[in-house]
Structures are given as C-alpha cells and as structure tokens.
C-alpha cells in the first residue's frame, strides 16, 4: 500500500556524528545487558528519601510509597539528553548531561527544586512551542489545595527556567500524578491531559454516588491549549472525573489507527482503566469495555508499543502479582465469587490482579496474552517500558517494582489485629504507627524481558543486570551517551537513583529526530513505520510512558543485522507524511515535517473471508451455577459445556436441520436453516433437565432416515446416578419426527464424547460413549461405554466384554475411530483431561486393547479438550488435531515440569480432595491458596495456622509419603494444542502456531476455507468459567489456520478472517447449502453466531 508514494521526501542527515559499529550480529545471539554506574562516576546522587514518622506514613497518606518520577530530554539542544528527578519529600534535581555519562547537578542555578510538597510525576514537553523543552511537575499529598498547585518551568535557554504555570492556566491544585502534553485536537499546539488520583479510599457503598459526580481534585482533567492559555474542557470533552479515579498512568497512542491520538488511563483499585478513543471532534469516548474483555485490577504503570511488529499499538498494564510461590501464597486470600459478581453487576468490568498485555489484532479487537507472553507476574510494579535494548528489531521490556511495606500480606490482615487485643491484655496502649513500622519490607529486583519474537518474552532480569533488590518507581530510557543504544534512568525509593548503561552486544540501529511544525516542534503524536525486507517496525512519538515519567524525544529503531532500511515513513500529527528510502543503519537522521506530503487516500481494505449473517434465536438461560461451591479445588467448571451441535437433513427437504444442545434449564432445540433464515423444527422435544454434551445424527436402525443420539453430560447438582445423566436415542419416523427410544441402555455417566463405529464388524453402527466426569467426585475416572447395535437401533451395553480396564480411560473429551493397524477393523483414539492420547485397538471385533504406546510418543499427557481427524498433509491417512488448555494461564507444563493432580479422601470425610501440584519457578508447590486448602480440609487448619508457614509448604508438608502414594495421581506434561501427523511410525506431534495457544480449544473444524485445495482449520475455545484467580481466558476469537497441504499452518488475523467472536466457543458446525457454505459457532450462554464463507 505504500508504493503509492512516488516522491522522496527531503532527507537530512544529522552531520558530525555517524557511528561506525562493529560487524552486525545475529538477532538470536543478542542479549541485552546493562550496568549500573556508580554515582561517583556519573555525578548523579539524587535519592528519593522518605521520612516515615507520626505525621508522614502510609496510614495518613495512601500513596506514601509510590515513589518519584524521571524525565529525560535535551533541554539545551546540544544533542545530549538531560535528567530531571522528582523527590516525594526531597527537592527535585536537574542534571545537565556533560556527555560520556557524566552529569552535573544544576538544580540550584536552574532554580527548579520545586516546593516542599509531596511531589509526583514530571514531564518534559515544549509547552509554549518555542523549540525548547519545558518541565511540568505534579504535586499531591494531604496538604491544602493551594500548596499542591502544579508547576510549569518554562525553558528560557541556557538552563534558565521560569515558573509560569499560573500564566498558562495549568497551576492545577488537583492531586496530580502526571501531566501529558499532546495535540489531541490536531490544531498544532500541545494540549494537556492531567492525570489525578484521590487521596481517600471511597467506601464501597458510595461507589454509585461517587461515580456520578466530578471530584475537583481526584478527577482527571483535559486542558485545551488556546494560544498559550489552557482551558479546562474535561466535562465537555467526555473525560471522567469521579472520586473513584486513582490514576497511575496515562499514555497517548493512536490505538484504533484513525489518525487521532487516543488515551489509555490506568486506575488503581476498583475503578476500571479508561480507554479514551478520540472522536476527532474535540471529545473522547471511554470504550474500554468494548476493547478489553478483562483488565488489570490494581492497574499501575503502563506502556503502549508494537511488540510484534505488525504496525499496531499493543497495550500493557502493570499490576501486583508476584512471580514466586512464597509471595503469591502470602498474598492470595479467599476467592469471593459473590463480591466478584457484584463488581461485574456494578459495571466495574472483569478485573484480575496481574499484568495484562492486550495484543492489538486490528479492527479494535484485542486479545489479552500477558501470560502467554510471559510478562504477567512482576510483583508490585510501577513502570513498564518497551524498547529495543539490543537493537535486534524486537522491543524488549523493562519493569520497575517494589513496595516499601508488605501490607497486602494476608497474615497482616488476619493476625495483626491481635496486636490491639494483646496490648489490652497486657494493659498497654496500642500505637497504630507501631503496626505500620512492624510491617515487613521486601525489596525485589526489577524485571527485564528479552523479546524473542513470536509473542514470547524471556525473563533475563538477572543476566541483563537487574539482579539488585530494591524499590524502584519512575524510569525512562534514552541514549545518554550517544553510542546508539538506549540507557536507563531509574528512580529508587530511599536509594540513589540508578543510571544503567546499555552494554548489550547491539544490532544495527537508526535514531530519528523529528522536527515538527512550530507549536509542536518535537512532533508529538507522530508515527514512524520502517520497512526492511518486507518487515515492519513501528514507533510512536509519545514520550510520556511507564510511571510518572517521560522519556527521550529521539526515536530508536533496532535493525538487527540489517544494514539499511528500505523505507522510513513518518506520519505527522496532521497525517501528512514524509518518506525516506534506503536509509543506512547506525546513524541519527533528522526528518522535518515541513517537507512532508499531504495525507494520502486510505487504501481499500481487503474484505474478510467470513461475513456474519443471521443466527437462530437460541440463548440458554444465564447460568449461575458455580461448581466451585460443590468442589472448591477444581480449576474450571464442568457444568458449562454447551451448546453442542449437530446437523442433518431430517425430513429430506434439502434444507439442513441443526441440533443445538440444551443445558440444565434450557432444553435442546432443532432448527431448520432455509434460505438464510432459521425456523424451529417441530419434530423434536427435549427436557430442560439435561445438559447435552454432544449429538450425533446417524441412521441407527437402517431405515434410511437419520436418527439422533444425544450424550448427556454436565455436572451442576447432578448426583452420580442422576436420571438426567442418561444418554438418549431418538429414532426418526421417516418424516422427521424424532421419537425417544425407551429401551436405550440406562447407564448414568456424565458423557464427554461419543463416536459411532462398527465395533463388532456386523455392519451395524455401534457406539463408544466416553465418560467425562463423575459429578461431585472430580477427578475420579468415570466409566466409558461400548454399546452394540443389533441393527434395529436397539443397543446393549457390552462394555465389560469389549472394553479393557473396566472402561476407565480417563476424563474423556474427544474420540475418533480409524483403522490404525490396517486390519480392516475400526480402532479408537481417545483424548481427555489429565491423560495422554490413547489408542484402543480393535481385536477382531471382539474386544479392544490399549496399544497407545505403539501409536503415540511419551510425555503427551495433557488437558486435552477436543479432537478431530482429517487428512491435513494429503497423504491419504487421517491426521489428528487435538485441542489443549493452551499457554495463556499461570500454569506451566512440559515433560520435565509436569502438573500433578493428587486425589483422595485424605481427611476421610467422604469427599474427594483433589490437590493440584505444579511448578512455580523451579520447584513444585501445591496450587491451592491457604484459604482454599483450609476450606477443603479441616485437618489443614491446624497444620498451617498462618499464611507464612503455608507459603513455604510443599506437597510433602501437606501429606505423608504413604498418603500421596495411595492417592490417585494424574498428570499433565503439555498444555499445547497440537497437530499429530499420521506416519508409519505412529503419530508425530507438532505444536500448532502460537496464536492457537492463547486459550483452551473446545472445538475444531477442518475445511478448505480459502478454496486453495488444502484443508484449513478453524479453532474455537476460551474458558470463562474458571476460578477467580485464574481469571477469564478469553483471548481466542475463533482462529482460522490456513493449511498449506503439508501439515503447516498460518494464522489469519481477525481483519483477514472476519472472525472476532467473544465468548466460549464450544462447537463449530459447517453447513453446505445451495446458498453457499456457512459456519455456525455454538457459544456458551450466548446466541450462536453464523458466518457465510465468501
């Protein structure tokens, strides 16, 4: 699309400085490395020192330990970025960059030390548009509003400043966190978004009241720059300003690629983050809930950057989830489903305590993949900065963190209250400050993650030079010594600020200085796209990032081993463009807006493969059943499995009938799909007691019309022998009326899967029915059944004759039949939860034998959730595609680090105690939190009387060796969804593409979507019915994987496929009609969605 540009823009190469770089290195070998320089060497000895006393402490001021900010920028335009630090209780400091990483404290001569008022964030921005960066400092604290008016230091050149906030009209007395200057109305000057926070916690009961009103000091504000005078237009511009706002970060970015700068605002506590989309008419709309299905709960710092080089801005918000077992266990309290439901009901959206990475998939569709990317747990985190530290072309991630007092420690909540009582018994006065100072203080190291591509980050914190444990807050990156890589400046609490020199073995790079028009000479809001060998790099000129800080105005492009950029495009705030071609690596280039070309016509969008059409009106009743009330230690709820689907032409009229399975409370229905519309099919009725796990249309009695088998599953309040668990057979009377066959075997298992096969070779279709779960007894292995058909549709249960191991194979979720050994009898392949794929070989139609080892390699125990067979590589045999739990959760599993599930009635009270053990870091720990475990077993209450003892507990501290040996032990060695290539040596597993691992897969369809003659795959999944701690796994949108006929697959983006389905897809059905090909998606507790294939 960029070939339209025919004119080369004027190219200005910054003279006098061209770096000769050592020979380029391979991207894969590059490892970022930083070295903290001594204050003696740098001259930077700023320390954000707090004084904790009776007047100043965390009880009096909520944000006492949040830390200070950092701003970097070239204040005297000498090509060297200078430094500014804010001190909460100490004076601010300005350091002039002398070059060679030496700095001079010029605070005094510059006169910018500021006030003795609680100081927060700082930004450098050219507020008056004169080409010199000014400094805007924010204030907060408990003092009188007059004392905390923000300060604007106007740069008069030569490091002389004048405080002019009042003159400009932005001496705002709010409790401010940060000022962000950007040209929101594209009138050529910089406006101000002022991020504020409340200093009192709002009582939960007053949420609704507080939300309705604008708070003068807590509410965020938008100031429009009218020729140097700023006007507060918050209300008319749609900026929220309630007392619930605890703004901790604001970042500007063109999130929806419409050319207007949008805003992300993160909020601490219950108030959701805001995603303000710029309407282009002077107003914003908060469209967070339309874009994010869940968000960080206690959102703190944030960054927005393109992490996967697709030209789209991805959004990352920080939270407080620690990485290690001990701190997690100290932090986790009881899960409260009722409180969570209230939060949703009151419109606070789904919030979970962990970092969230919202991957921008285009078309305003985002998938949250923080856990898949490996960057979700960085403890109590403040600043997030994505930048290409090693110039390998992928933006890496730096996170500062730490909180001076561990006051979310659960023992503190539960046991520190004893202090008052004990003081009373001892007849001594209680001193609340003593409580504060007796809280533990745990320094933690900062995090550095190497972006290894493919949506993966590797934690290299220690080797990258961030092993020191401390408390870090604001941070900024800048090439301080002009050696072509980005260095870091970090503000620490009660410790000298850190200057981290980048010592990476660096790839090639280009640095870009933007020269915008007067009024916005630094080109704030500009975008840069760089193309090299067809690959894209994308940057935005928005220096306010991370937390309370602003970074360099010089853009950094890492190139890896590439020595030349094919084309470099700048999209200026007014959407005019500059383009440079063939730009050599390892230099600074300066690009001026004055040379840009006007805005090009937007290219025509390619139309997607699918278009949405009308769907049957089938929504199961909203189910409030909470399986964790019955078995608190399960991870997901086995009740929510519907809707299942199946299709057939029942009455021979040429139109398909579609069975949509019911769930307890909503009976199944059959619809006819006629010429694009859906009609209820009258020949079938089902009861609302059942939960239909699956349906199969097949001519079971050989009369030429299709009959229906429905497998009843679910969990709910079903007893193990519940009548509602009986599977059903309905025979077609030939006219399309389905009549229940009353003599169908009356076993009661919660069915998970079934497959029609001719087990005994008599030519009649028999049934294998796989059990999924025993309601109330998870994870005990349920029975599976083999039902033999006498040809008339009369089945007999012959499981005991045919099935080995008493029919107990595992918690089955998928089954297919194929002749594995070429003996002309039909064999079975089974998958299920906490089990390995299983091959049952048919022995001459008389019985089955487990020969899994001959067909599947080892270490494939998984949380398998679906199975499909199709010839994907065109070699004439059936390959397998198996859905697994995916990689977008806290769980990790591989052959070395398996997940183990122990189950027994350990405390002999009649209930099964399923205790999961999994790796957290390098060791195995029990998964349940202390509260969960104590709720399951009374005996554990005296074993772990506080959180501290449990935080170190291993499985062997919970149970004796003998107890564990006697328990049922299930295992998971892989969580990846896979493609199994059928070869002469059995099935060879291949991992499906990374985008297929973002959620559990519950449904798989193979069909040729793009009509290239090769079968493609459509995957559906997600899991919203999880423990609160796991959270919604909702990153899946219905994924199309295009097959190349060789067993290789490439994913389509939602823009390309047209699929952006939110919800838990449980079934996918393909309808081939005279009107074309349709896909129906069955979504749990939602209406189905129907798409026409183009």
């Amino acid at each position: 699309m960029y070939t339209e540009f025919r004119f080369l823009s004027f190219l200005f190469i910054c003279l006098g400085w061209v770096c000769v770089h050592p020979s380029p290195v391979k991207a894969q070998q590059i490892q970022a490395k930083f070295e903290k320089l001594s204050p003696k060497k740098t001259g930077v000895n700023f320390k954000n020192q707090l004084r904790e006393d009776a007047q100043n402490n965390i009880l009096r001021y909520e944000y006492f330990y949040n830390g200070g900010g950092v701003a970097v920028g070239d204040l005297n335009n000498d090509g060297l970025d200078d430094l500014f630090f804010t001190g909460n209780m100490t004076g601010n400091k300005l350091y002039r960059n002398l070059g060679n990483l030496k700095f001079e404290d010029i605070t005094k001569s510059a006169g910018v030390a500021g006030k003795e008022v609680w100081t927060t964030g700082v930004s450098m921005a050219d507020v008056n548009g004169d080409g010199l960066l000014d400094i805007y400092v924010c204030y907060s604290g408990k003092g009188a509003p007059e004392t905390r008016k923000n300060e604007l230091w106007i740069n008069r050149g030569n490091f002389k400043f004048e405080e002019k906030a009042a003159e400009f009209g932005i001496n705002d007395p709010s409790n401010s966190t940060q000022g962000l200057f950007f040209d929101f109305d594209q009138d050529g000057d910089l406006d101000l978004f002022l991020l504020n926070h409340h200093i009192q916690v709002i009582n939960e009961m007053e949420f609704d009241v507080a939300r309705g009103a604008r708070h003068p000091y807590a509410g965020d504000k938008l100031y429009r720059n009218d020729q140097g005078k700023f006007t507060d237009i918050s209300e008319q511009a749609g900026i929220k300003g309630s007392a619930l706002g605890f703004g901790l970060a604001v970042i500007s970015s063109d999130i929806n690629q419409d050319g207007w700068p949008d805003l992300l605002v993160t909020n601490d506590y219950i108030e959701p983050d805001y995603l303000y989309l710029n309407n282009g008419d002077g107003t914003f709309s908060d469209q967070m809930t339309d874009h994010f299905q869940h968000i960080s709960h206690f959102s703190m710092g944030a960054d927005i950057a393109d992490i996967n080089n697709d030209g789209l801005a991805d959004i990352f918000t920080l939270d407080m989830l620690p990485e290690d077992n001990e701190r997690q266990k100290l932090l986790y309290g009881p899960e409260n489903y009722e409180q969570y439901a209230l939060m949703i009901k009151r419109g606070f959206h789904h919030q979970n305590m962990r970092n969230m990475l919202h991957l921008n998939q285009g078309e305003s569709v985002f998938s949250e993949i923080g856990q898949l990317a490996g960057i979700s747990n960085t403890d109590w985190s403040w600043s997030a900065l994505f930048f290409d530290a090693d110039n390998d072309g992928n933006k890496d991630l730096f996170v500062t963190n730490g909180y001076y007092r561990d006051y979310t420690n659960r023992d503190f909540l539960k046991y520190k209250g004893d202090y008052y009582f004990k003081q009373a018994v001892a007849k001594e006065k209680a001193d609340t400050l003593h409580l504060v100072t007796s809280m533990t203080s745990t320094p933690v190291h900062d995090y550095f993650f190497q972006n290894t591509g493919n949506l993966q980050f590797q934690n290299t914190s220690i080797t990258a030079g961030f092993g020191a444990k401390n408390f870090s807050s604001g941070a900024a990156y800048s090439d301080l010594d002009n050696d072509g890589d980005l260095d870091l400046v970090v503000s620490h609490l009660n410790e000298t600020a850190g200057i981290f020199e980048n010592k990476s073995q660096s790839g090639n790079w280009i640095q870009i200085n933007l020269v915008g028009k007067p009024g916005n000479q630094f080109g704030i809001g500009s975008k840069v796209q760089a193309y090299t060998n067809g690959e894209l790099s994308f940057l935005e000129q928005n220096p306010v990032r991370g937390f309370q800080s602003s970074g360099t105005h010089r853009l950094q492009l890492g190139l890896g081993k590439t020595s030349e950029v094919d084309s470099l495009i700048v999209i200026w705030p007014d959407q005019s463009r500059s383009k440079l071609e063939g730009v050599q690596a390892n230099q600074q280039v300066t690009i001026e807006q004055s040379t840009s070309l006007s805005r090009p016509k937007s290219p025509k969008k390619a139309s997607p493969l699918f278009t949405r059409v009308s769907a049957p009106d089938f929504t199961s009743t909203f189910s409030t059943v909470n399986d964790f009330k019955r078995q608190p230690l399960m991870l997901t709820m086995p009740s929510h499995i519907g809707p299942s689907m199946a299709q057939a032409d029942l009455n021979g009229d040429g139109y398909p009938e579609v069975f949509i399975g019911g769930t307890k409370g909503t009976p199944a229905r059959i619809y006819s799909f006629k010429d694009g519309s859906w009609e209820i099919f009258r020949g079938f009725r089902s009861s609302s007691d059942f939960t239909d796990a699956l349906a199969i249309f097949e001519d079971f009695n050989g009369d030429g019309s299709l009959d229906l088998f429905v497998g009843s599953g679910g969990y709910h309040d079903y007893l193990a022998s519940d009548e509602s668990l009986r599977d059903r057979l309905y025979l077609n009377d030939g006219k399309g009326v389905l009549i229940a066959k009353s003599d169908f075997p009356s076993y009661t298992i919660s069915t998970g899967t079934a497959v029609v096969l001719d087990a005994n070779g008599d030519g009649f279709p028999d049934l294998f029915v796989g059990g999924k779960v025993i309601p109330g007894r998870y994870p005990e292995t349920p029975e599976s059944k083999l039902l033999i058909n006498d040809g008339s549709g009369t089945f007999s249960d012959q499981s005991s004759t045919f099935l080995p191991n008493k029919g107990k194979f595992g918690m089955l979720t998928g089954a297919v039949k194929q002749d594995l050994n070429g003996d002309q009898t039909e064999d079975l392949i089974l998958v299920g939860e906490f089990m390995a794929p299983t091959a049952l070989i048919n022995k001459n139609g008389s019985s089955f034998e487990d020969q899994s080892a001959q067909y599947f390699p080892k270490n494939l125990s998984g949380w398998w959730s679906s199975l499909l067979q199709a010839d994907m590589d065109g070699d004439g045999d059936f390959d397998l595609i198996a859905g697994n739990f995916g990689l977008n959760s806290q769980l990790v599993a591989n052959a070395e680090k398996s997940i183990q599930l122990y189950a027994a009635d350990f405390d002999q009270n009649g209930s099964i105690d399923p205790i999961l053990e999994c790796y957290i870091g390098d060791d195995r720990y029990p998964y349940p939190s202390r509260d969960e475990l104590l709720d399951q077993m009374v005996s554990m209450r005296s074993k772990f009387t506080d959180y501290a003892t449990y935080s170190k507990a291993k499985m062997t501290d919970l149970f004796s060796k003998q107890e564990l040996e006697k328990a049922l032990l299930l295992e998971i060695q892989t969580l990846e969804s896979m493609y199994f290539e059928n070869t002469v040596n059995g099935f060879v597993p291949h991992t499906l593409p990374r985008l297929a691992q973002v959620s559990p897969v519950y449904s798989i369809l193979a069909t040729d979507i793009n009509l290239d003659g090769n079968p493609d795959i459509v995957l559906g999944g997600n899991q919203n019915q999880t423990r609160i701690r796991i959270g919604k796994i909702d990153a899946g949108l219905g994924l199309v994987l295009l097959g190349n006929g060789k067993g290789e697959f490439s994913p389509l983006s939602p823009a390309e496929s047209g699929l952006g389905i939110k919800g838990d897809i449980k079934s996918i059905l393909q309808l081939e009609t005279s009107a074309g090909k349709f896909l129906v998606f069955g979504i749990n507790q939602q209406n189905p969605e129907v798409y026409k294939v183009q």
Partner: protein, 438 residues
C-alpha cells in the same frame, strides 16, 4: 491431714501473706482460676477467628472435658448431672488427689485438638503443670496419674467431637445466593463468604429434634408500604439515622464480632473481638466468681452454658440457612439510601433469626435457673476489647439488651430479635428441664 502438712512445710519458706493467698486459691478462688484458664482458650479462638457457631462448639467440648474429669473422678454436683452423649464404655471411675488439676489439663488437651492454633495451649499446659506442682495440687509422684486421667477423658471427649459431623462440613456444598429478592447476599465491606451454611448438620447435645425449636415464621419480604417487612425495614433504617449515645454504647458493647475488617486502600486489618458465646462464657465466669462457686460447680455451670450455646447456635443456624433472609444493610442500600451504613459491621451470614438473641436468651435462661433471678453483676467481658464495664440487674436484663442491641447496630430486623428471643428461651427451658429431671 495431708494438706495441713503441706501448709506447715510451706510456712518455712513463705511469708504469712502468701500462705493465706495460697489457701484462698485452693479453697475459695477456683471460679476465678477456672475462668482465667478458660480465657486462654478464648484467646486462641480470637487469634484463629473462630466464627460464632464454631466458638460455641469449642466452648462445649473443652468445658465438657473438665466436667467429665470431675464426674469420672467421683465428683458430685448440686444440680442434676449433665447427660452427655455416649462417651463409650470405658468411663473412668477412680478418685484423684486433684480433680481440679486434671480437669483444667483435660480442657487444654481438648482445646489443643479442636482449635487450629490449639498448639498455643501447650505453653499454658506447661504453666498449669508448673503451677499445680508449685501449689501442691499434684506432686511429682502423682503428676503422671493426673495427666493420664486427663488424657483418657480428653480422648473420650475428642472421640465424641470427631463424630458430630464437623469434619464432614467441608464435604458439603458452600453457600450459593438464592435467586430472587429478599435473599441474603454477602455484605460490605469485605463481602465475606457465608459462615457455616450446613451447621444444622452438626450434632447437638440436647436438642434431639431441631424442628421443635424452629422460630416463628418471619415477615415475608415485601417492600409495599404498610407490610410488616417494610415497617421493620424502616425501623432499622430510622434507628440507624438517630442513635443516641446510650444506644450506640449498647450496640458496641454487644457487637461480639470476631473479625471486623477495616480497610485503608490496599491495607486491610482485621479487628478482633470475642464471639457472642465468648461473652456469655465471660458472664458465666463473673457470676461463678461472685457466687464463690466451688471448682465442680464452676465447671458444671460453664459446661452447661457451653453446651447450651452450642445447641442454640445449631438451632439458630438451621433457621438462618432455611430462610436465607437478606440483611437490612443490603435492602436499605438498594432501596432506601445507598449511603446508609449500620453502626456495626454486618456479620457474614443470613439474618433470621438473630444469633445473639437466641444464644443470649438461652444462656440467661440457664444462668437464671442456676443462680436465681435478679442476680446483679458487673459485666467486664469486653474490657480487653476496649469497651467499658457494664452493670446488669439480672441475666435476663443482659440478654434482652444483647438482643435489642442488634437493632441499634443496624444488623437485624425486629422479628429476628423477638422471635430469636423466644427461640432461645424455649431452648434454655428445654435444656434446664432435661437437667432437672435427673
């Protein structure tokens, strides 16, 4: 004879005052000593945050151990014996030099096992042993005999406790809020999970047929003006708006919330108090001391009150989770005034009937029957929790005040209090009748 000898020996080592004090302790001060030792159990419950019904169960079994030591060592009581459920065939019949020593020790042994942090009592056991030796309750020679006796009885009691359905509770379903209006939903600020929704399955001591003690039906949920519910709702609401100092004091005095969560941003801290049962055990101790009860009688009345509390809580909890009634705070915030806040933090379980009303009245019934009516006392049970002493002219007066305090506190409707009082009275009378018959 033996005791006189001991005293004589002691004279050589101790000044006269000490001897008198010692003599007093041995002969007259048992009520104070027993109450003080029992308070160690209360302290552990406070640490563990034992919920009100769980606390009552702990008081029942720990006191029962002490009672059984007295009973099985041949002790006699003024009133009828407490019929405890079968303790098995192997009851001891053996006299002991100091049943008092063994009784307290057995109480600790049971406490150690029935409370999560029961291990904290080990230090108290050691102190008790030391004290017992020092004060010649036991000698080095016969100490083992006492410990074995205490252990045997404690084991009997623990066997009984093990089969009362308590450990089966975790095998039962947790509370799921009923759909529809008027049903209980967790309450601010912590929205704590429902406490013990299946407590009715725990075995009581006296109330063989729980249905007999079901409270009268509550006013159905009906917000229409003039309905009984609407009137009661308005009454709680109005009280909350204009409480006088005396009413506030009463509400706070009887708060007895084992875990009140106070929030400050991310920081939350649990402020702890004794449970309602703990308060009445406290009153029992105060009355026993005032009356200078002997050791056996002190144990007797504590045990009887402990068992009564336990049965009363089972009966009350049965009503709570059969009605699942909404708390005033929830309705008021939703329908009348989103800013209204009860003076007390709403406890985490359904509203009907008022637990404090049931168990206070049942306890007062027992105490009145035992000590007589118009028994004046100064209630200092809550002093450790920052509340003043309070004088009462009778147990019934105290119970009535405890009951109405829940209305002042904004956590109960009138009918849950009135019908709770009736429920408690019926339970108390029934239990006393069982004692008297024997």
């Amino acid at each position: 004879m033996k005791k006189a000898f001991s005293l004589l020996v002691l004279c050589f080592f101790l000044p006269l005052g000490s001897i008198l004090l010692l003599a007093q302790k041995q002969h007259q001060d048992w009520a104070r000593i027993y109450a003080a030792e029992l308070f160690h159990i209360t302290e552990v419950m406070v640490t563990d945050v034992a919920s009100p019904p769980v606390a009552a169960r702990i008081y029942a079994y720990t006191n029962l151990a002490a009672y059984q030591v007295i009973s099985q060592s041949g002790g006699k009581f003024l009133k009828g014996e407490i019929p405890t459920l079968s303790l098995g065939e192997n009851q001891l019949k053996q006299s002991l030099p100091s049943p008092e020593f063994a009784a307290v020790y057995a109480m600790f042994l049971v406490g150690e096992k029935v409370m999560p942090s029961g291990y904290l009592l080990q230090e108290k056991q050691a102190a008790w042993e030391k004290w017992g030796l020092k004060n010649k309750l036991v000698s080095k020679k016969n100490l083992a005999e006492h410990l074995t006796f205490a252990k045997t009885v404690a084991d009997q009691v623990l066997t009984l406790a093990k089969s009362d359905g308590y450990i089966q509770l975790t095998a039962l379903n947790r509370y799921t809020p009923r759909e529809g209006e008027g049903f209980w939903y967790p309450t601010p600020p912590a929205y704590m999970a429902a406490v013990e929704p299946e407590w009715r399955t725990v075995k009581p001591f006296f109330l063989k047929n729980l249905e007999e003690f079901d409270p009268k039906p509550m006013a159905p949920f009906d917000l229409n003006a003039g309905s009984s519910f609407a009137k009661q709702l308005d009454e709680v609401y109005q009280y909350g708006l204009k409480l006088n100092e005396e009413e506030k004091l009463i509400a706070n005095f009887w708060d007895c919330n084992p875990f009140k969560v106070e929030f400050s941003g991310h920081m939350a801290i649990g402020v702890k108090k004794i449970s309602p049962g703990g308060h009445w055990i406290g009153i029992t101790g105060i009355a026993a001391q005032k009356q200078n009860l002997s050791f056996s009688e002190t144990v007797y009345i504590h045990t009887l009150v402990g068992l009564t509390l336990h049965d009363a809580f089972i009966s009350c909890w049965k009503a709570k989770y059969e009605t699942n009634r909404i708390r005033p705070e929830t309705v008021i915030n939703e329908k009348l005034d989103p800013k209204w806040k009860p003076l007390l933090q709403t406890p985490p379980f359904p509203e009907y009937t008022s637990g404090h009303s049931v168990i206070s009245t049942a306890s007062a019934e027992i105490l009145t029957s035992y000590f007589g009516d118009n028994f004046k006392f100064v209630d200092s049970s809550e002093v450790y929790f920052g509340l003043p002493e309070r004088e009462f002219n009778s147990f019934n007066q105290a119970a009535a005040e405890a009951a109405i305090s829940r209305l002042y506190g904004g956590i109960h409707f009138r009918d849950a209090i009135d019908n709770g009082v009736d429920q408690g009275r019926a339970i108390g009378k029934f239990i006393w009748s069982k004692i008297e018959k024997l």
